[in-house]
């Protein structure tokens, strides 16, 4: 069987079944970060993201922005768990024909994110490669009381996002700012019950959150904040690479949040798993949403 038949998430499920974990692992594969026992008050968070020329960026993209994205996607994962990033390792596969100036720009982009979010780039690995490949692994920490996983959504929770969706592939995917500040505001003040970052598209990543929580959802078409770069509602629902946070919280907390802060958008409600995922339009008509979004295989 080809891995393309099994699918990216089929492959991940296959791995999860056979990997043994000891009791220091609070949460293994299957959330935005791995969560590890650390000290009395905090957990260690670990995540990694590989970006590859031709998949995540093109040879014509600005190397500063490519380097920036390589670190930013990991910061987004740590934000999705409610934590703060601390240390990064950077593995780079470079073409032997690469110019030193090009590599300097990659590094400058990485450093811009490292400085903004106070991350130490503590090491890495360099290799020859046929196309530019950057894999960043990042560790961080989260106070135990502030940890948010995908699995905590409850019936009647409000579903929110931290920004407008869709059209990211036309540019924003290379220049987005990870929603770390927003995440910390949320976990310190509004107790989100579940959170994930939107990398594969709203519907698909909502699907991951709902599966982990054992829930369903109703989304309101009129409430979906469509980015000015998006060319359709469909792009806001399924295009991917938004790197906004998708989270759930109680109706009461969501009212407080939306009253006090701009930049958060309520888009739906958590319901029983049996009700699946549906989208309600302005005239109250409900249609089922099949999961669409980016998959590697």
């Amino acid at each position: 069987m080809l891995i393309s038949q099994l699918g990216e998430f089929g492959l991940i499920e296959r791995f999860k079944k056979v990997i043994p974990l000891d009791k220091t692992v609070i949460k293994g594969p299957g959330d935005d970060c791995a969560v590890i026992a650390y000290n009395k008050d905090s957990y260690l968070l670990m995540t990694c993201d590989m970006i590859i020329e031709g998949v995540d960026f093109t040879p014509r993209d600005d190397p500063y922005l490519i380097g920036r994205k390589a670190l930013a996607v990991c910061v987004s994962d740590i934000a999705a768990c409610g934590g703060l990033p601390h240390y990064a390792l950077v593995s780079m596969g470079l073409k032997a024909t690469a110019q030193a100036g090009y590599v300097d720009k990659l590094l400058a982009g990485m450093l811009s994110i490292a400085k903004k979010f106070r991350i130490n780039i503590v090491g890495g690995d360099l290799s020859r490669a046929s196309c530019l490949t950057i894999d960043v692994s990042m560790t961080g920490a989260v106070e135990k009381k502030n940890l948010v996983l995908r699995s905590g959504a409850r019936n009647n929770d409000t579903i929110c996002v931290t920004g407008k969706l869709g059209g990211s592939l036309y540019g924003k995917h290379l220049s987005f700012t990870p929603r770390l500040k927003e995440s910390r505001l949320l976990v310190q003040n509004y107790k989100p019950s579940a959170m994930i970052d939107i990398s594969d598209g709203l519907v698909q990543d909502l699907g991951h959150l709902l599966k982990a929580s054992g829930k369903g959802a109703v989304l309101y078409e009129d409430c979906i904040p469509v980015s000015s770069q998006a060319r359709s509602l469909k792009q806001a629902l399924a295009m991917g690479e938004d790197f906004e946070l998708l989270f759930t919280l109680s109706g009461q907390k969501s009212k407080q949040l939306l009253r006090r802060h701009k930049g958060f958008f309520p888009i739906g409600t958590i319901v029983d798993q049996a009700q699946g995922v549906s989208l309600v339009d302005a005239r109250g008509r409900r249609k089922s949403l099949t999961q669409t979004g980016f998959r590697h295989f």
Copy 2:
């Protein structure tokens, strides 16, 4: 300027100059692992290694052994700092045409190392790629008193290795056992002053250790343990991918070690930096050793 003109180590030096690190970073880029403040008794160790089809293995190699190697090279880095590995993240770039059975074998190879050394594979990332690329990042810990860096070698220390050298590229590079047991024996009983794993060839990696320590070395040709796979002394000196540990310790400690344990080989002595690196043959003739070994660029 092409990165091939700057060279792999020129590129690394370039990075080290501009990367800001806070005071929780005990040792940043430039050793086998990064060393981070952790708790009263221990440091956190972090390392990563990227292996790529066509550079570190071929499409004809057994995927079980490729997966095995991907984790083993990181264990070797942690061993070189005297620590124990705990958690790993695995990023994989897979060809869309890969068979699920092939990927299962990669994973089985990884799990064989994970089980042997009690490592939790806590997460990862999957991506499409034009050639198989695996980047593993690993964290571990080392008791503060047992930490060994490249930088501690002293005049008159004996230089030793944990096994025979050369010819690894004919097979052993895919099936080697990282010298974790040997490392722990050393740090718990024989206080090595400096240590590094041999990935780029004895002379080149000795050069890294000497540069970090500000020292020179005399090697004795007759003492270099040449592997039965090696086709010449030169291969033992420069072929790379041996994944043996190269370490230094006091003359007294080395005598105790060599009297009590098999599998360790004394190969030379640490001298002043001004004396450079030389090789003395059976007739006492001394020749200077230029640094040769594998470089990616």
